[in-house]
Symmetry: C2
Subunit: 103 residues, 2 copies
C-alpha cells in the first residue's frame, strides 16, 4: 500500500449495520456505499469486512483524497450528503471515523 | 493502495499516548513502534498522524499480513510481545484495534 505523503488524507470508517448479517438489506446498503467511490476526488476506495474480535464493528471502508480540499468537496457532494441523510443515519447502528495523514 | 484480496489481513491501530504532543518521550515511543516493521511477516507498515476531529486519537499505524498465520506469528514474536509488555501498556492512554479483510 503506497504510504501517505504530503497533503494526502486517508478517510476510514468502521461501522455496524442495523441489518442482519447476510441479509438482502445489508447487501443493498453495501452496494449503495460502494457507489460513493464514483464521487469526484475519491481515490483508493475499499470496502472490507472488519474481522477483529477486539471491537464490535462488522464493516470498514477506506478512501483517499489528494488534499483536504478534495476531502471537503466530497463531504458536501450531493451524492454523499444524500446518502448520509437518507441511508447512513437510518441504517448504521454504530460507527467510528478515522482520518490519517503523513507524519 | 492495493486492495485486500484472498487471505490478506490489514491490521490497524489508532492510539493516544500518555506523553505530551511533540515531546521527546513521544518521539522515542514512535521510533520504537516503527521498529515493529522489521518483524517477519509485516508488510506495508505505515505510521501516521490521526487528524479527524471526530475522535480523540492522535496516532495511527497500519500493517498487512499475507494470511492469519503470518499475523499470529507477529503477535507472538518476542519483539512484539516485549514491546507490548514494556512500552505499549505503560505509555498508551487509549487505543482501538481494527482488522480488515476482503469481502
Amino acid at each position: 500500500m503506497p504510504t501517505l505523503s504530503g497533503d494526502r488524507i486517508r478517510h476510514s470508517v468502521v461501522f455496524t449495520l442495523a441489518h442482519e448479517a447476510g441479509s438482502e438489506r445489508e447487501a443493498d446498503f453495501l452496494r449503495a456505499i460502494a457507489d460513493l467511490a464514483s464521487i469526484p476526488g475519491v481515490e483508493a476506495f475499499e470496502l472490507m469486512r472488519e474481522v477483529s474480535p477486539k471491537n464490535a464493528f462488522d464493516h470498514a471502508l477506506t478512501m483517499e483524497f489528494a488534499d483536504r480540499g478534495a476531502y471537503e468537496a466530497y463531504n458536501v457532494h450531493p451524492n454523499h450528503t444524500r446518502f448520509v441523510e437518507s441511508r447512513w443515519d437510518a441504517e448504521v447502528k454504530d460507527f467510528l471515523e478515522v482520518d490519517t495523514a503523513a507524519r
